[in-house]
C-alpha cells in the first residue's frame, strides 16, 4: 500500500509558519504535484514525507504506517521511498553502476539480484551503456537519469521528486517530462512531485495541489484548476490572465472604463473582477464584436501577442502567428470573448498576486 495520508500537518521554523493545516490524501498510484511559487512550503512538505523534516503538529502516513506524528518518527532510511533531488545528488566517488546499486547494497541483496535489478532500471532510463562511467563524465540530463534510476531500483511504492528538472535546459526538460510520466505509468508507483513550473505540473499530473504561503489554494485535476480556479491567485498562477473590474447587475456585467456589457448568468452581484484569458479572445477585422484598438504587437513565432485598448482598459490577445502581418498597432479591430471567469471584488487581488519568498 502506498498512499500518502497527511493529517492536520503544520510546520513552523521558529516563529515563521511555513505550512498551515495540510490535510490531504494522495491515492495509491496517483501522480500528484505540489505546485506553487518559491517559498510556498511545497518542498518542506515533500521533505516531511521523506522524513528529513518533522511536522510541528499533525501526522503523516505512508500506506497504513504512521511515519511522523505524535511520538512516532520513522527515520528516512526506514520509510522505503525513493527520492530524486534537485541537484541530482549523484555520488562522485562511485560509478553509475554503484550509484544505482547502492540501495540494494545497503539492503544486503545478493549479487545476482543486484545485477539484474540494476540492469533493468538502467534500461528503463536508457543508460545501460553508461554503467561504468563516473558522474563527472556525464551530462546534466544523464546525471538526473542516474538519480532516477537509483530512486527506482529498490522498487519503492512511493517516489518523491524535488524539482528534478529545474537545472536542465528547456528542450531537455520537455523530453524528461514525458519519460518520467512514462515510467510512472509503466511501474504504477505513487509519485509526489514538487515544482514551480505550472506547465510541467499540468502536463504530468493526475492531481495538482496549488499552494501559496503555506495554504493549499486549490486541488484538482489540471483541467479543473485551470478552467475553474477558485480564486484570483489560482487563475493568475496558471496560464495567462487579465483582470478587469466590473459591475454585475441583472444578468449583465458592465466593464469599468468601457462600454462593454457582457451577458452573465452566474450568481455574483455587485463589484466583480472579470478574468479573461488571452486565448479566449478572438480578434477580427470584421463588424461583429467589441470594438478595440491595437496598441502593441509582439511576434512569438507560434503565436502573436497583442495589446489592445478598449476604452480606458487594456487587454491582452493571443492569436495565430501567421496573422501577424494582418494586424498592426493603430488598427481598429473587433473582439469576441468565448469565455471568462468572474470573482468578487473584495480588494484582495493585489494581496493575492503579491509575490512572497
Amino acid at each position: 500500500m502506498s498512499s500518502v495520508t497527511i493529517k492536520n500537518v503544520t510546520k513552523s521554523f521558529g516563529t515563521s509558519l511555513i505550512l498551515s493545516d495540510f490535510n490531504e490524501v494522495f491515492q495509491d498510484g496517483e501522480f500528484v504535484t505540489l505546485l506553487g511559487p518559491s517559498g510556498c512550503g511545497k518542498t518542506t512538505m515533500l521533505r516531511m514525507i521523506a522524513g528529513f523534516e518533522k511536522p510541528t503538529t499533525g501526522e503523516i502516513y505512508i500506506g497504513d504506517m504512521l511515519v511522523s506524528g505524535g511520538n512516532t518518527f520513522v527515520p528516512p532510511e526506514k520509510r522505503g521511498v525513493g527520492m530524486v533531488f534537485q541537484s541530482y545528488a549523484v555520488w562522485p566517488h562511485m560509478d553509475v553502476y554503484h550509484n544505482v546499486a547502492y540501495p540494494l547494497t545497503i539492503a544486503k541483496a545478493d549479487k545476482k539480484t543486484v545485477e539484474d535489478k540494476v540492469a533493468r532500471v538502467l534500461d528503463i532510463v536508457h543508460l545501460s551503456q553508461y554503467a561504468q562511467r563516473y558522474p563527472n563524465q556525464l551530462s546534466g540530463g544523464q546525471q538526473q537519469r542516474v538519480a532516477l534510476a537509483r530512486a527506482l531500483v529498490a522498487e519503492p511504492q512511493l517516489l518523491l521528486l524535488d524539482e528534478p528538472l529545474s537545472n536542465l535546459d528547456a528542450k531537455l526538460r520537455e523530453g524528461m517530462r514525458f519519460e518520467i510520466k512514462e515510467i510512472q505509468n509503466r511501474l504504477g508507483i505513487t509519485v509526489v512531485y514538487v515544482t514551480h513550473d505550472q506547465t510541467e505540473a499540468m502536463a504530468m499530473s493526475d492531481r495538482v495541489f496549488l499552494i501559496n504561503r503555506g495554504i493549499v489554494q486549490q486541488q484538482g485535476s489540471p483541467e479543473e484548476i485551470y478552467n475553474q480556479p477558485v480564486n484570483q491567485f489560482v487563475a493568475d498562477f496558471l496560464g495567462k490572465v487579465d483582470f478587469l473590474k466590473g459591475e454585475s447587475k441583472d444578468g449583465i456585467i458592465s466593464l469599468k472604463g468601457t462600454n462593454v456589457k457582457l451577458p452573465y448568468s452566474g450568481e455574483r452581484r455587485g463589484a466583480v473582477e472579470v478574468a479573461i484569458r488571452p486565448e479566449n479572445i478572438t480578434m477580427t477585422k470584421g463588424e461583429v464584436g467589441i470594438p478595440a484598438i491595437i496598441t502593441k504587437k509582439y511576434y512569438l513565432g507560434e503565436a502573436s501577442d497583442y495589446r489592445v485598448q478598449i476604452g480606458e482598459v487594456d487587454l491582452r490577445v493571443i492569436s495565430e502567428g501567421r496573422d501577424y502581418n494582418k494586424f498592426n498597432p493603430g488598427d481598429e479591430v473587433r473582439l469576441e470573448l468565448s469565455d471568462f471567469l468572474v470573482f468578487d471584488d473584495d480588494g484582495s487581488l493585489k494581496d493575492q498576486l503579491k509575490i512572497q519568498t
Binding site: 521523506a50 522524513g51 528529513f52 527515520p75 528516512p76 532510511e77 526506514k78 520509510r79 522505503g80 521511498v81 525513493g82 527520492m83 533531488f85 534537485q86 541537484s87 545528488a89 549523484v90 555520488w91 562522485p92 566517488h93 547502492y102 540501495p103 545497503i106 539492503a107 538519480a147 537509483r150 530512486a151 529498490a154 518523491l160 537545472n167
Partner: protein, 1128 residues
C-alpha cells in the same frame, strides 16, 4: 593596407619591445659592473664593506665642510701650498698610524693580560709581510712555550724536541753527533728517570688522596673504595703481619651496613678489612670516613715502605684518576705526565745547554730568533720579556710596512684635488680621534661668529704653512694644553673652525669608522678609491656599491624577461599598470624569499666552498642530526594521525548533528588556533610535570600510587606529541569543517533515503567524499607539527627529545660546522614542507569533489537521540581538557607565589607577578615592538592581498597567478628555515643589509604570514559578483569611486578580518624572532620565552596570560567587526 589605428599599435608595440631589450641589456650591464666593483673591492684587501661605506660617507661629509677652503687656498702661492701639503702628509701619516694601531703599540702590548697578548701576537704575525721575520718569531714563540710548559704539542718532553730543532741548524756531522748523544742519554737515563719518577709520583699520590674532597669522586664513596682496597692489598702484600687493629675502629665507621658491622667484630683485623672493603657500595658507605681510612692506610703503608721506591705508585695514580670525576681525573693525569716530562727535562738539561752553545757558535745562529731567544731565556731573561721583544720586532716591521704604503699613496696624490683628498681623509681620521679635543675648545670655536671663524681659519692656515708666524691667542692656548703635535693640532683647529660643529660626526659614524679602519691593514688603496678625489664619482659608487648594483641588475634583468614573456604570450605589447604591481610583489618575494632559500640550498651543497654531499651525509651519520630527523618525523606523523582522528569526529558532531551547544564548541576549538603554541606548552608543563604536575598529583591520589614521580611525564616524546596534537588538530578541524559545509547535503540525504542509517551514510558517502579534504587537513597538521619550534623547545628539549627545528636554532650559534649542520637540517625540512605543499595544493586540489549545492538548504542534521547527552559530555570533557584547563592553569600559576604549592594554600595568592611583569619597561618595550611590527606586517600584507585578490578575480591578465604561487610558497615554508635563510643572505652578502634591524623581522613575518590575508579577501571578492561593480561603472562612477562606494564597503569586514589574521600570529611569533632579534627589537613572544627559561614560571605565566587576553580581545573585535559572520 593597415589602418591608422593598427599602425599606431604596431609602433607602440615596437617601442615597448625596444624598451624591454634595452632594459635587459641594462640589467646585464649592472650585474657585470656590480660584480666587477665587488671584485675590485676585495682586491684592495678592504673586505669590510660597511666600513668602506662609512669612510666614504665620512669623506663626503668632510668634503661639505671643506668646500670653503678652495677660495682660501687660491690666495697662497705655490711654495706655501707645497709646505702645507707636506705638513698634511706628516699629519696624515701620524694620524693613520695612530688610528690604525690604536691600542697596539709596544707599551700597550706589555700592559695587556696574558690571554689577550696571545691574540695580539697572532694578529701581528698574520699582518707582517716580512716572511722571514714571521717564520723566526713563530719558531721562537713555540720554543719559549715549550720550555715554559715543559712539553710541546705532541707530548714530547720539551728539551728533547728543542735539542732536535737545534740540531737542524747545525752542520751535518755535528748534528748527527748531537742526535746520537741524545739517543744515548735517553737510554742511560731511563732507569734514573724512572727512579726519580717513582719518588715524585708517590708525592703526587699522597697529595691527591689528601686534598681531593669526596665530592670530586665519581660515584662518591665507591670511587674511594677502589683506591682503599688497592692500598690495603699493597699493604698486605708487603707486610702481611702488619697490625691493623688500631685502624679497625676507623673501619667500623666506614660502613653503614649493620650486618657487616656485626660480622667483623670478631674477625681479625686483616679479615675484617677485607670483609668491609669488599662489601662497600655507594649507598652503604660513609664516604668521608672511607677517605680518612684510605689516608690512614696509606700512612701505614708509608711507614713500612720508608723509601717508597719499592712501590709502583703509577698504578695507584691511575686508579685514583679512574675514580675521580672527569675534570679532576684529567688534571691528575696531566700532572703525572708533567712530572714525567720534567724528569726528562731535568735529565736532558746539560745536553740541551750543550746543544744551545753549539748552535750559537755556528755563524748564522745570530739571525735565528729562536736560538737567541732560548739563549736569553737560559741566561736568565724572563719569558715575558723575550715575548715582548719579539712583539716589538713585529710591531716595528708592521709600522715600516705601513709607513711605506702611506708614502706611496701620498706620492700618488699629485693631482689637483690632492688637497681635497688629504683634507677629507684627515677629517675622517680626525673624527675618529674627536674625543681627544677638549670640549671647551670645540665650544669656543662653535661660539665664534661666522666672520671671525673664517679669519681664524686663515690665521691657522698661515700658522701651519709658516711655523714661525704668530697665531691667534686662542690657538696658542690650545697648543699649550694639548699633547698633539703642532701641525696636527693646528689642522684640527682649522677643520673645527670651518665645519662649525663641535663633533665632526655622530657617535655611530665615528665608532664605525674606528672599527672599519682598524679592521684592515693595507687600506690605502681603498682609501684612495673612496675618499673623494682619488677616483671619479662613478668608480667610487661602482666599487663601494657593487653588490647592490648587481642585485638591482639581476632584478631588472628578470623583470624585463618576465614582462617580455607575458606580453608575448598575451600578444599585448602595452605596459599595463597591473603588471608593474605584479612585478613589485614578485620582486619582493624574489629578494626576500627565493634568494635566501636559494642561497641556503647552494650552501648546503658547498659547505666548505666546493661541491660536496658532506652536509647531507652528516644528516644521517651524525647522531644528533639523525635523532632529530627521526624525532621530527615520528612526532609529526603521530600528531597528524591523532589530530585527524580527533578532528574528524568533532567536525562531524559539531557540523552535522544536533549536539548540544555546537556553536559554542565550534568557537572554542577554533580558539586554540589563535593562541601562541608556546603558551600552551607552558600550560601543559604545569599540568603534566612528572613531579608536581597537577594532573599527575590527582592521578596519583586517585590511583593510590606511592611514587613521587609520574605516572605521566610531559618531558618525553609522548608528552610532546600530546601538546602538538592539542595545538594543531584545529587545522584539520577547520579544513574538514569547511569541506563538510561545502558538501551538498543532498548527497547524504540521498544515501539516507536509499536505506542507509546515519552511521552507514557517514562511512559510505561522507567519508569517501571528504577524503581529499581529510588528507589535506592531515597534511597541514603534519607540516605544522614538524615545523613547530615553540612546543618542542619547551616540552621536548628538557626531555632530550630534540627535533629538527630546535637543533637548527641550537646549531646556528656554533660556528661554521654548526651552521652547516643547521643548513642541512633546514634543507631537509624545507623539502619536506614543499613536497607536502605540492601534494596538498596541486595533486589533492584536483581531486576534491567540490559539490556546492544550488539551493542554500540547511544541511541535514543527524539526530543523535540517546547518544546526544553522552556525546555532548564527552565533547565537553575534551574541550575542557584541551582548551580550558591549560588556560586556567596558566592563570592560576600566574597568581601564585610558590609554584609548588596550591593556589588555595594560605598566603600563596598574589598579584605581585602581574604587577612585576607589566611594570617592567622591557615588557612594555617588547609589547610595543610586537604591536608595531605586527601592525606594519598586517597592513602591508593586507594591501598586497587586496591587490592580488583583485588581480586574480577581476582581471584576466596573464601572470597574475605568479605572485600568488610565491606567496603560497612562503606560507608553506617552515618559520625557522625562512629565518635562517634571511640571516645568511641579508647581512650584506647580496647588497642588502637589514640584519639586526626591525626590518628583517617584518620581512620574515610578511613572507610567512602574508598568505593569511589572501584567503579571506579572495573569498570576499569572489562572492561579490562583478556585475555589482559593472553597474556602478555604467552609472558613471570612476573606478576609484566604485571601489570606495561599492566594493570597499562590501569587502571591508573581510579586509579587517584578514588584517587581524595576519596581525595575530605576527604578534606572538616566536621561532623567527629567536633567530632574528636584536637587543632593540625584542618582541613579546621572545621575551616570554626568555622569562620562562631564565626567570620564574609564575612571572612568565602572568605574561603568557596577558598575551592570551590581548589575543582573545582582538579576536572579539574581529568577530564584532565582521558581525559574527566571519568564521575562520
Amino acid at each position: 593596407m593597415t589602418s591608422p589605428l593598427m599602425s599606431q599599435t604596431h609602433r607602440r608595440s615596437r617601442g615597448v619591445k625596444i624598451a624591454l631589450t634595452f632594459a635587459v641589456a641594462l640589467g646585464l650591464l649592472l650585474i657585470f659592473l656590480g660584480v666587477r666593483g665587488t671584485q675590485a673591492l676585495s682586491q684592495s684587501n678592504f673586505d669590510d664593506a660597511k666600513g668602506f661605506m662609512l669612510i666614504n660617507k665620512a669623506g663626503r661629509l668632510a668634503e661639505e665642510g671643506l668646500k670653503a677652503d678652495k677660495p682660501l687656498l687660491a690666495k697662497f702661492d705655490e711654495e706655501s701650498l707645497q709646505t702645507l701639503s707636506r705638513s698634511m702628509d706628516r699629519v696624515l701619516s701620524n694620524l693613520w698610524r695612530r688610528v690604525r694601531y690604536a691600542g697596539e703599540t709596544l707599551s700597550d702590548y706589555k700592559r695587556t693580560d696574558i690571554a689577550r697578548r696571545a691574540d695580539m701576537m697572532a694578529t701581528l704575525l698574520r699582518e707582517t709581510s716580512d716572511d722571514d721575520l714571521k717564520e723566526g718569531v713563530s719558531r721562537a714563540t713555540l720554543a719559549l712555550d715549550a720550555v715554559i710548559l715543559g712539553t710541546n704539542d705532541s707530548g714530547v718532553p720539551a728539551y728533547e724536541w728543542l735539542i732536535l730543532k737545534l740540531a737542524d741548524s747545525l752542520p751535518q756531522s755535528e748534528a748527527e753527533n748531537l742526535r746520537a748523544s741524545l739517543q744515548e742519554a735517553k737510554k742511560s737515563g731511563e732507569s734514573i728517570v724512572e727512579r726519580e719518577l717513582k719518588e715524585q709520583s708517590g708525592l703526587l699520590f699522597a697529595e691527591a688522596i689528601g686534598e681531593k674532597r669526596l665530592a670530586r669522586y665519581r660515584n662518591g664513596a665507591a670511587g674511594v673504595a677502589g683506591v682503599a682496597l688497592e692500598i690495603f692489598n699493597e699493604l698486605h702484600r708487603v707486610a702481611p703481619e702488619y697490625n691493623l687493629s688500631d685502624l679497625k675502629a676507623l673501619l667500623f665507621d666506614v660502613t653503614k651496613d649493620e650486618e657487616v658491622k656485626e660480622n667483623i667484630v670478631n674477625l681479625s683485623a686483616a679479615d675484617a678489612f677485607a670483609e668491609v672493603l669488599l662489601s662497600l657500595t655507594p649507598e652503604n658507605t660513609s664516604g668521608a670516613r672511607l677517605l680518612a681510612l684510605s689516608r690512614a692506610l696509606y700512612e701505614s703503608l708509608q711507614s713500612v715502605h720508608p723509601d717508597l721506591s719499592g712501590m709502583d705508585h703509577n698504578s695507584l695514580i691511575l686508579l685514583q684518576a679512574d675514580a675521580l670525576a672527569e675534570e679532576e681525573s684529567q688534571a691528575l693525569l696531566e700532572q703525572a705526565d708533567m712530572l714525567q716530562d720534567k724528569a726528562w727535562n731535568d735529565y736532558l738539561t746539560p745536553l740541551f745547554s750543550q746543544a744551545l752553545d753549539m748552535t750559537a757558535h755556528v755563524s748564522s745562529a745570530q739571525d735565528d730568533l729562536m736560538v737567541s731567544s732560548l739563549q736569553a731565556f737560559v741566561q736568565g731573561e724572563s719569558a715575558s720579556d723575550i715575548q715582548n721583544n719579539l712583539a716589538n720586532e713585529l710591531i716595528m716591521a708592521r709600522d715600516a710596512d705601513t709607513g711605506r704604503l702611506i708614502e706611496d699613496y701620498l706620492a700618488e696624490l699629485s693631482s689637483e684635488d690632492a688637497w681635497q683628498t688629504k683634507s677629507s681623509l684627515i677629517a675622517a681620521l680626525f673624527a675618529f680621534d674627536a674625543p681627544r679635543i677638549p670640549i671647551a675648545v670645540q665650544r669656543s670655536v662653535e661660539s665664534l661668529p661666522k666672520q671671525q671663524r673664517s679669519v681664524l681659519r686663515e690665521d691657522l692656515l698661515h700658522g701651519i704653512i709658516d711655523p714661525l708666524a704668530p697665531l691667534p691667542e686662542f690657538a696658542e692656548n690650545f697648543l699649550s694644553e694639548t699633547d698633539l703635535e703642532r701641525e696636527e693640532a693646528l689642522l684640527y683647529l682649522h677643520l673645527l673652525s670651518g665645519s662649525g660643529f663641535g663633533k665632526l660626526y655622530g657617535d655611530e659614524v665615528g665608532a664605525g669608522l674606528r672599527l672599519a679602519i682598524r679592521a684592515n691593514a693595507p687600506r690605502i688603496r681603498a682609501a684612495q678609491t673612496i675618499a673623494a678625489g682619488g677616483g671619479d664619482r662613478l668608480t667610487q659608487i661602482i666599487n663601494s656599491k657593487g653588490k647592490v648594483l648587481a642585485l638591482l641588475g639581476a632584478l631588472l634583468f628578470i623583470d624585463s624577461l618576465l614582462l617580455a614573456f607575458l606580453m608575448r604570450s598575451s600578444n599585448d605589447w602595452r605596459i599595463d599598470m597591473k603588471w608593474l604591481l605584479i612585478l613589485l610583489i614578485v620582486d619582493f618575494m624574489l629578494v626576500f624569499q627565493i634568494l635566501p632559500l636559494g642561497y641556503m640550498l647552494y650552501k648546503a651543497f658547498t659547505p666548505q666552498g666546493t661541491f660536496s654531499l658532506q652536509t647531507f651525509e652528516r644528516l644521517f651519520s651524525y647522531n644528533m642530526n639523525r635523532s632529530a630527523l627521526v624525532n621530527t618525523m615520528v612526532s609529526g606523523l603521530s600528531a597528524m594521525v591523532m589530530g585527524t582522528v580527533i578532528a574528524f569526529p568533532l567536525a562531524w558532531l559539531v557540523g552535522r548533528t544536533n549536539l548540544i551547544g555546537k556553536k559554542f564548541f565550534r568557537h572554542l576549538f577554533v580558539l586554540t588556533y589563535m593562541v601562541p603554541p608556546y603558551v600552551g606548552a607552558m600550560a601543559w608543563l604545569r599540568l603534566l610535570n612528572p613531579n608536581v604536575g597537577s594532573i599527575n598529583v590527582i592521578l596519583r591520589t586517585l590511583l593510590g600510587l606511592k611514587s613521587a614521580v609520574g605516572p605521566l611525564n610531559i618531558y618525553s616524546m609522548g608528552g610532546m606529541v600530546w601538546v602538538l596534537t592539542t595545538f594543531f588538530y584545529p587545522y584539520a578541524f577547520i579544513t574538514i569543517s569547511r569541506a563538510m559545509e561545502k558538501m551538498d547535503p543532498s548527497l547524504e540525504e540521498a544515501s539516507r533515503i536509499s536505506g542507509a542509517s546515519p552511521f552507514l551514510t557517514l562511512l559510505k558517502v561522507t567519508l569517501p567524499i571528504m577524503t581529499p579534504s581529510l588528507i589535506a587537513g592531515a597534511l597541514l597538521v603534519f607540516v605544522s607539527a614538524a615545523s613547530a619550534y615553540g612546543i618542542p623547545s619547551i616540552v621536548g628539549a628538557p626531555g632530550r627529545v630534540h627535533t629538527v627545528t630546535t637543533r637548527i636554532i641550537e646549531y646556528y650559534g656554533r660556528g661554521t660546522q654548526g651552521l652547516n649542520d643547521a643548513i642541512g637540517l633546514s634543507v631537509f625540512l624545507m623539502t619536506l614542507a614543499l613536497l607536502i605543499l605540492y601534494i596538498s595544493d596541486f595533486v589533492l586540489a584536483k581531486k576534491q569533489y567540490i559539490t556546492v549545492s544550488g539551493k542554500s538548504t540547511r544541511p541535514n542534521i543527524v539526530d543523535l537521540r540517546t547518544w546526544r547527552i553522552p556525546l555532548t559530555i564527552i565533547v565537553g570533557l575534551f574541550a575542557f581538557l584541551v582548551v580550558l584547563l591549560p588556560f586556567a592553569t596558566i592563570l592560576t600559576t600566574s597568581l601564585k607565589i610558590d609554584v609548588g604549592k596550591s593556589l588555595m594554600a594560605a598566603g600563596n595568592f598574589t598579584l605581585h607577578q602581574w604587577t612585576n611583569i607589566f611594570s617592567r619597561s622591557e615588557t612594555m618595550t617588547s609589547l610595543k615592538n610586537s604591536f608595531i611590527y605586527a601592525s606594519v606586517s598586517a597592513t602591508v600584507g593586507i594591501l598586497v592581498a587586496i591587490t592580488m585578490s583583485y588581480l586574480m578575480q577581476r582581471t584576466t591578465i596573464r601572470g597574475r597567478k605568479l605572485p600568488d604561487f610565491l606567496i603560497t610558497l612562503g606560507s608553506g615554508s617552515p618559520s625557522v628555515v625562512i629565518a635562517l635563510g634571511l640571516i645568511m643572505s641579508m647581512q650584506g652578502r647580496f647588497g642588502v643589509n637589514i640584519y639586526n634591524t626591525a626590518y628583517i623581522l617584518i620581512v620574515a613575518y610578511l613572507v610567512k604570514y602574508m598568505m593569511m590575508g589572501m584567503r579571506t579577501v579572495t573569498s570576499a571578492i569572489s562572492q561579490i559578483h562583478v556585475s555589482l561593480e559593472e553597474s556602478s561603472q555604467v552609472s558613471g562612477a570612476s573606478w576609484i569611486t566604485t571601489m570606495r562606494k561599492v566594493t570597499g564597503p562590501l569587502i571591508f569586514p573581510s579586509i579587517a578580518a584578514g588584517w587581524f589574521l595576519i596581525f595575530i600570529p605576527c604578534f606572538y611569533e616566536l621561532a623567527m624572532t629567536t633567530l632574528l632579534y636584536s637587543n632593540s627589537t625584542k618582541t613579546i613572544g621572545f621575551q616570554l620565552y626568555e622569562y620562562w627559561t631564565f626567570t620564574s614560571q609564575p612571572q612568565a605565566s602572568a605574561m603568557a596570560f596577558g598575551i592570551l587576553l590581548i589575543v582573545i580581545f582582538i579576536n572579539l573585535i574581529l568577530n564584532r567587526l565582521t558581525k559574527g559572520e566571519f568564521s575562520i
